[in-house]
Subunit: 109 residues, 2 copies
Amino acid sequence: MGITKTEIFTPEQNRLATLLKALAHPARIAILQHIIRQEACICNDLVEELGLAQATISQHLKELKAIGIIKGTLDGTSICYCVNSLVWNNIRKELAGFFIEWSGTEQCC
Amino acid sequence: MGITKTEIFTPEQNRLATLLKALAHPARIAILQHIIRQEACICNDLVEELGLAQATISQHLKELKAIGIIKGTLDGTSICYCVNSLVWNNIRKELAGFFIEWSGTEQCC
DNA sequence: AGTTTCTATCGCAATATTATGATTGATTGT
DNA sequence: ACAATCAATCATAATATTGCGATAGAAACT
């Protein structure tokens, strides 16, 4: 039916899925990489850099802002986006924590 | 239009997005955690453990198998699923590599 | 062979995501 | 005040994802 049954999962599982989903698009990966490389950038740069419409970029930025991994401040008429270091590191830890759950030894098969 | 423009992104960006998308669902997180905790499991266990239909579990397992992070071997009538350690570690490194791209110092704002 | 058990796949319905043009709102510059 | 510029939002269309019942296929047991 297209609707994820969030109520049957733990808050941790839903949280991890939300974080991963927010990052799970090549445009959003590209946006983050560009922000990192340019050390902050404005939306209009991204429209030229990636080959997507302004409305589309704005929507992707909104999803990244939703998990807090980037923040934007007014810079004249444009908006300067940059990584929120606190959130970035927290997300890194959360994802790393999940991957550490398994030690790495073969189990069966 | 609902179709991701993969052709305008780099293979690395598309690859990362594919990996993240495969993991970006609470059911698939739960499946992985269960497989890790039980040290392998069979599909029917998951149907009872999570509250999802057998067809739905099977579909999620298919997506996890698609990126190779789990593998299944016949065990009588049932199928034993377990983590593919090689792929697991590679994916961990790929994701960690992305997060290392940024050192963690504040940039603007 | 027939039955049971388990998983994969098909077909469908409902919801979500992706992408864009058009519009709106806010700020800068004239 | 007025035009220009930039980003957010709206409305819409196309495609993807999620979920499940029903069916099919494969292996074990009688």
